[in-house]
Assembly symmetry: C2
Homo-oligomer: 222 residues x 2
């Protein structure tokens, strides 16, 4: 139950999230993401390496150790449980919860998050469809299919988002798209990769970049 500073927790969490699709995080990329200068990140990597949280060698890319992944997972768990709590219990919109969760994820109180978990019925996903790590910090990372990989005629259900920035979430709100929304693919436009879809009784056009950031599955009973 080792405790790390707020700051170290942010490095670990960010490193974890960046490693999901990259596996090879550079000092520069991490500095960009955290809004810090490279020397700051270098020196923190030396400290995290001393704590055995990252594997770090001069001029080489950074990797989380198993210990580091676990710690990161526990923070992400607190973040995502909090987001779920804010939406389900406190009735915030899914576009409002990130900044609050960003702060509450650093609260040190196992019983507090245990209670959240119980009240929510042990959820496995957050309000944006991202998986909630288990109590040991382990993430069950399911394979996710972007909407643009599906084909015309298919009926799909939205299960997750690649980004949760609030401008994207507000855009989806305006389009009435959320987790669980069922869309029928009318056609895919070859030229620009946009998709024409049926959403209930209405028709909808989504651009390629948007379709890449929506994850979907074939709708049940299709």
């Amino acid at each position: 139950m080792s405790l790390h500073s707020h700051t170290k927790e942010n490095y670990l969490k960010t490193l974890y999230l960046m490693s999901i699709d990259k596996d090879n995080v550079s000092i520069n990329e991490l500095a960009q993401k955290l809004g810090l200068k490279m020397p700051t990140v270098t020196s923190m990597m030396q400290k995290l390496a001393a704590d055995r949280l990252v594997k770090y060698e001069k001029y080489k890319p950074i990797h989380l150790t198993e210990k580091g992944k676990k710690e990161a997972g526990l923070i992400i768990r607190k973040h995502r449980l909090t987001e779920m709590f804010l939406v389900e219990v406190m009735k915030f919109g899914w576009e409002e919860v990130h900044d609050i969760a960003e702060q509450i994820e650093h609260i040190n109180s196992p019983v507090f998050f245990k209670k959240m978990d119980e009240m929510l019925g042990f959820p496995e996903h957050d309000p944006h469809g991202s998986p909630i790590p288990d109590r040991t910090g382990n993430i069950k990372q399911a394979v996710r299919h972007p909407l643009c990989d599906f084909n015309s005629g298919e009926s799909v259900v939205i299960t997750g988002l690649a980004r949760s920035e609030d401008d994207f979430l507000k855009f989806l709100n305006r389009k009435n798209i959320g987790l669980g929304t069922i869309l029928n693919i009318i056609e895919k436009e070859e030229y620009d990769g946009s998709m024409r879809l049926k959403h209930g009784k209405r028709e909808l056009l989504l651009s390629r970049p948007v379709c890449e950031e929506l994850f979907a599955e074939i709708a049940a009973g299709t």
Copy 2:
């Protein structure tokens, strides 16, 4: 809406709470309460004075300015709203909430605390009977009467506590005493100041120190 560090917030809050019955807080007392050394506190007082949050002159006792009181009130508001939320919404025991609220009081999110306030129906007291400051940081500090000031034959209702340390709260739990508990004073023992009371159908003996830390009012309809 000036933002202060976590650390400064703790100084302000502590100073406020200590000023309620003392009005004259010394560097030494504040250092004791915060678990810090005197020079640390001296140097912070110089900074808070520069921020116009306290009135401080060398070798003189410390006073919060109006600005300081307001800031402190807003932190105490967040603390007490949180305690209320933890008890009423999340169903924690009143002895469990202090440490969690101690952390959540530093969350910077007006909308988060606004939502709590709404969900709780704009409560005026926390789970220990302490007043919740209003949105401007103002505390309506009602006069409070310790149980030991009442007389035999009187029927009183418990309305607050002088201390909220969890050993005291657990003691009260064992005695089945909480806010709203009605007690009939059978007799006051002259020798040691203890009180014999009727609590429902059972009889109860409370020592003088306990009676000094329970606030009460004459029960309605008596």
